[in-house]
């Protein structure tokens, strides 16, 4: 068994795509025009799969703040915070995040992926137990794997299944960490947070909620789904990212636990990574201020996703969830999804193609994400493209969750 033998299956999949002349996982955007438009293959293309929920990547104040930091502090920090020291702005951003959430403290990580990796690997270890929602992001699974903690999956968004598993743990439940997400990135469905919080109240334990796709989108103040459902005080660790609503790069954890600061010293993904560049921190701080005052942007985003959701439903597409900033068109078979995705690209609409095993329960998805920066005309154009590429009636029905 050679070291590369395991790639034979991947190579076969790659050859299949090469034969079609497209690589949906290697699209190059030759020029970015705006938060919602780019040039791909010489064609002006509407970007409808960016996670740029508030459209802040071209916000004038964010750009000015980044420019200023670049001029004042240079291009990079060239090392980790523990070895090379923190810049004042790293700590200021942590204080501002903690204040924004009304919690005691925050830790900034270099990417969103590392936020989950760093928190879980720092907090948990052998002998601990994490109960995670089956549909959790890879970074949550990977953080658990790095930590060596015992990992138990519960059925997606199923508070009764979580209850059974907490009961089986007996006295260990009181120290278990429950890990889940506010909005799930593939289908765009929301966690029943009140019901899940009730399980934590019954058995004890700690709750981690990843608000990567709900920060800036949900809640009156943009803090996420826990704020919207009035359960933020019950969340022990909020995880978030700078690379979606905040239009930058990086991630964070906020917590009211006094021990949070100690987790830095136990977190390999925090210790052994260069800290975020000054310009990134500066644009993120400006974006956080804009997000906190972003009722107008959230209203615009809501209008946009309601328009696209209604438009796609009217065309007869099966959608993964009620209206939200992530709208997933559920398709049964990967060939059909690939064809639809390619036809959309040829019509100047770029969305995300999602195939198993990255998707839940073996479904193939065309995943759209909306931005406050999309115009009504752009969403009309996206709907028009979906109308043109609509599969004939009687096409493969979407796979049923329970049956897979």
């Amino acid at each position: 068994m050679g070291i590369f033998d395991k790639f034979s299956k991947l190579a076969a999949g790659r050859r299949e795509l090469d034969a079609l002349g497209i690589d949906p996982f290697g699209v190059q955007i030759d020029r970015i025009v705006s938060p919602t438009e780019g040039v791909i293959g010489g064609r002006h293309t509407i970007l409808a799969g960016t996670n740029n929920y508030l459209g802040l990547t071209f916000d004038a104040q964010c750009i000015a703040a980044a420019h200023h930091a670049l001029d004042q502090e240079g291009t990079g920090t060239t090392g980790s915070r523990m070895a090379n020291g923190s810049y004042a702005s790293h700590r200021l951003l942590e204080e501002e995040l903690a204040a924004f959430y009304g919690m005691r403290d925050a830790i900034v990580f270099s990417t969103g992926y590392q936020a989950n990796l760093g928190l879980l690997a720092g907090l948990t270890g052998p002998g601990d137990v994490v109960l995670l929602d089956a549909d959790c992001h890879a970074s949550i699974y990977d953080g658990c794997r790095l930590s060596g903690t015992e990992v138990i999956r519960f059925r997606h968004n199923d508070a009764d299944d979580l209850t059974r598993r907490m009961r089986r743990l007996g006295p260990r439940a009181a120290d278990a960490l429950i890990a889940l997400e506010g909005i799930y990135s593939m289908l765009g469905d929301r966690a029943p947070l009140r019901e899940l919080v009730a399980v934590k109240r019954e058995f004890g334990g700690y709750l981690l909620v990843d608000e990567a796709h709900s920060m800036g989108v949900c809640g009156a103040g943009g803090r996420g789904l826990a704020e919207e459902l009035g359960v933020l005080a019950e969340v022990d660790f909020v995880i978030g990212t700078f690379s979606k609503s905040l239009g930058g790069g990086g991630g964070f954890c906020v917590s009211d636990r006094p021990e949070l600061d100690l987790i830095r010293y136990a977190s390999r993904p925090y210790i052994f990574t260069a800290s975020p560049a000054p310009a990134t921190i500066a644009s993120t701080r400006a974006a956080l201020r804009r997000l906190a005052q972003g009722h107008d942007l959230r209203q615009r985003l809501r209008e946009n996703y309601e328009q696209l959701h209604a438009g796609l439903l009217a065309l007869g597409y099966t959608l993964g969830a009620p209206p939200g900033a992530v709208i997933a068109v559920v398709l049964g078979e990967r060939g059909e999804a690939l064809k639809l995705w390619h036809e959309l690209l040829l019509r100047g609409v770029y969305v995300n193609l999602m195939l198993p095993p990255a998707t839940p329960d073996g479904v193939s998805l065309i995943r759209c994400s909306l931005s406050a920066a999309h115009t009504t005309a752009q969403i009309d154009a996206v709907c028009a493209a979906f109308a043109e590429v609509r599969p004939a009636a009687g096409a493969t029905p979407p796979a049923q969750r329970a049956a897979m």
């Binding site: 137990v129 089956a134 699974y141 658990c144 015992e150 990992v151 138990i152 999956r153 059925r155 598993r165 089986r168 743990l169 198993p356 095993p357 329960d361 073996g362 897979m404």
Partner: protein
């Protein structure tokens, strides 16, 4: 306490149902190599097994499970601990 043979027979039945009636499944069938299941499908199969035996199976055991016989041994261990 269930014997390993009884456990094996029950997970065999579950797997035949899960794979929609594949008849060639034996105790030594490799879930990934023979049945072409990816890790996600294996984990989703385990959800059914967990209900059947009223246990939680940690994801951590997966590297030690290739065949049904391996899985039965892990379940026996978990039932003894429980």
């Amino acid at each position: 306490m269930l014997e390993q043979a009884q456990i094996l027979s029950q997970i065999h039945d579950e797997l035949v149902a899960f794979t929609q009636g594949r008849s060639e499944i034996t105790a030594d069938t490799d879930l990934i190599a023979d049945l072409n299941m990816d890790s996600l499908r294996v984990m989703n199969f385990l959800l059914l097994i967990e209900d059947r035996f009223d246990i939680s199976i940690p994801v951590n055991i997966l590297p030690d499970v290739r065949t049904l016989r391996d899985l039965a041994a892990q379940i026996e261990k978990l039932l003894q601990q429980g």
